[in-house]
């Protein structure tokens, strides 16, 4: 079969048959248990080729070596990749047969097309992984609510476990050992249950590859698309939310970012444009960078457009950074006509909103003539956040750490309280920061709290480009918080994200200060330059 495939790459095949054949060859060679040759099977896939458990003293890699090279050189690797694509992307189930997919790959792109270059590498990796993961890849679909329920129970188990481990010293004998084992087991169970929501980014990346390829093709641009870090795993919901923004940004990069081949030659750039997608793990965050080596974003053009649309006034002085951030403004587009490529509904403002909804941030740096880099920072998991547990007058609340810019102890500050109903404020690095007490912010009233604001701690929150100090009595601690839905029978209110169970087993509300405060600030404070600190 291997030989047949080598001769005719368009032949249809089944990867499990192939695996069977490879196993047969290995077995036929008189080798029982085989240590896979590194050239055939990458070590990171934790491969075990299990054949007859006959003990063998010497490992004959020379049988595998030709097999490996035969396999790698065969055009089959291309075919395998296509097969993989079809399995992963179920929307493409109607896609033509393997043969046609292979043909498309080869026809559409010029033989030395850069897009195929990185793909060739991955296709080899995938084909190897295909064999390796054949058994590990078995997947069952599980209802997400079951997983969430499991996580709930495991969370309770962990609380119980910490109580038991505190009392473990009181018992003696074999029970101690059992308790230790149980504690270890429950920790293992926790880490597994937390990882259940995590999905590999690879299928998304493969979809994006096709997006770039098709876009480049439509625009007749020569694009080298490279990808870094497609081995990561992120929370399912984060992955879902990331998909549309990334498609939009990559289309933008190819359409608006990269120049046409002629323009590139005039500006002494290689004919082929580069677009890069990089994913990396940074603490609890996923960093996604989309960069291109195109023409960059010209702030002056944006300024003219913004003045034309009445977003900024002519006299308004904006820094270069503020200018380029105008593209995140709702309804802002420099293209007078919407194109088929980039005019597909979502604009950069939607991208920004989507990212921020997931607790992330988006940033942009660009150099005219050199290219642009969009950088998205998004929490790896939405089910677990870094939270700040704060004490208000009557209650404990949790605030996502990502929303808090800094905390200021007001005891060391001079707090001004106005009798005119403007409320309190204090001066922070030449800025006047209004102060709002947390309970007041929740109840929508002002000046209800009996405590002096100057006794508390202010959390600096950035609300619609305006810094507001949210005053709490005390900050208890920062810790990882598992987000649960607001309980049944509890009305959802603006600024409430959900609830959680704290270490002592008591529930607490998780608040989003940004949403909580955005309804409370009077418009005149907000209408200050929208782009002032963009």
């Amino acid at each position: 079969m291997l030989a047949a495939l080598k001769a005719d790459p368009s032949a249809s095949f089944d990867s499990s048959d192939l695996l069977g054949e490879i196993e047969q060859r290995i077995a036929g060679g008189g080798v029982g248990t085989v240590q896979p040759s590194p050239s055939l099977l990458p070590s990171e896939n934790k491969v075990e080729v299990n054949i007859d458990p006959l003990p063998v003293d010497a490992i004959e890699t020379n049988i595998l070596a030709p097999l490996a090279s035969e396999f790698e050189d065969s055009p089959l690797s291309q075919g395998l990749q296509s097969n993989e694509e079809m399995q992963i992307i179920d929307q493409e189930q109607t896609a033509p047969s393997v043969t046609q997919v292979v043909d498309r790959d080869q026809d559409v792109l010029q033989p030395e097309s850069p897009i195929t270059e990185p793909q060739k590498n991955t296709s080899k990796d995938i084909s190897k992984a295909k064999i390796a993961d054949h058994r590990e890849d078995e997947i069952i679909r599980v209802n997400l609510s079951k997983i969430d329920m499991l996580n709930d129970y495991v969370g309770e188990l962990i609380v119980l476990q910490s109580m038991i481990s505190q009392q473990a010293g009181q018992v003696e004998g074999p029970l101690q050992g059992s308790i230790r084992t149980m504690i270890k087991l429950s920790k293992d169970i926790q880490s597994i249950s937390m990882s259940l929501r995590m999905l590999p980014v690879k299928p998304l990346v493969q979809k994006l590859q096709r997006v770039v390829r098709d876009t480049a093709q439509t625009l007749s641009k020569d694009v080298l698309f490279s990808i870094e870090g497609d081995q990561l795993e992120v929370d399912k919901s984060v992955l879902d939310r990331l998909a549309d923004p990334l498609i939009h940004m990559l289309r933008n990069a190819v359409d608006h970012g990269l120049e046409t081949a002629e323009e590139r030659i005039v500006t002494n750039k290689p004919k082929q444009g580069k677009v890069k997608l990089a994913l990396l793990n940074e603490g609890n965050h996923l960093i996604v960078e989309v960069s291109d080596d195109g023409k960059g974003i010209n702030g002056e053009i944006l300024r003219e457009k913004a003045i034309e649309k009445g977003i900024i006034s002519e006299s308004q002085a904006l820094s270069e950074k503020q200018l380029v951030h105008l593209i995140f403004h709702p309804g802002f587009s420099t293209k007078s006509a919407t194109s088929e490529i980039s005019g597909r509904g979502v604009g950069m403002d939607v991208v920004k909103t989507n990212v921020e909804k997931s607790g992330g941030q988006i940033d942009l740096s660009t150099t005219v003539g050199k290219g642009s880099i969009f950088r998205i920072q998004i929490p790896l998991s939405l089910a677990v956040i870094e939270g700040l547990i704060v004490q208000s007058e009557k209650n404990r609340f949790v605030v996502p750490l990502s929303q808090v810019r800094e905390t200021i102890n007001l005891k060391t500050q001079k707090v001004f309280t106005s009798k005119l109903g403007i409320g309190s404020c204090f001066e922070l690095r030449q800025d006047v920061v209004p102060l709002i007490e947390l309970e007041d912010a929740i109840c929508g009233k002002r000046g209800q709290s009996t405590k002096e604001l100057s006794e508390g701690t202010a959390l600096m929150i950035n609300v619609k480009e305006q810094i507001i100090g949210l005053v709490v009595q005390d900050i208890l601690r920062a810790q990882q918080i598992v987000i649960k839905p607001l309980g049944n029978g509890i009305a959802n209110q603006q600024g409430w994200i959900g609830s959680c169970v704290l270490g002592d087993g008591l529930p607490a509300l998780i608040l989003s200060p940004v949403d909580l405060l955005s309804g409370k600030i009077r418009q005149n404070i907000l209408s200050k330059d929208l782009v002032k600190s963009a």
Binding site: K394, G489, N492, W496, G498, V501, L509
Partner: protein, 157 residues
Amino acid sequence: MNAMELENRFMEFRLGDQLYAIPLLMVKEVIQRPEMTPVPNMPGHFEGMMNLRGQILGVFSVRKKLSAKTQSPSEPINEVVIVIETKGVAVGMIVDEVTRVIHTTPEMLRAAPLKEGDPARSYIVSVIQIDGELVLSLDTFQLLELEKIKAPGRLRR
């Protein structure tokens, strides 16, 4: 036991001197009143939220809703929470004591002697006459005004 018989069974509970009943099928469990976290901006009969083995539930006080008399100070307070699930909403309700499970027959049920327009008509379904006592059968969903509570807060995922 067939389904009909199950539907005729009620959980009876006490608030002060009065006995009440709710359909047994909606009761998930009864637990001792746990420590609760207050929640701002909620109706007056809302007590707080509790942690039921990892699930967060809103808890309501039936006493506050019915403005029932409080227990005499000499009586030990040992309130319990009945965890109920009705129309897809799971909440807790605080009562003084769960007394028993009663089995009703159609002849034990009486219409509640309430005037037209009495707000209590919406949540007092009927009066159960049993062992010489009168037990008020309640529609919990109406009683706790659960329809006013919007759909449980959706997690931002």
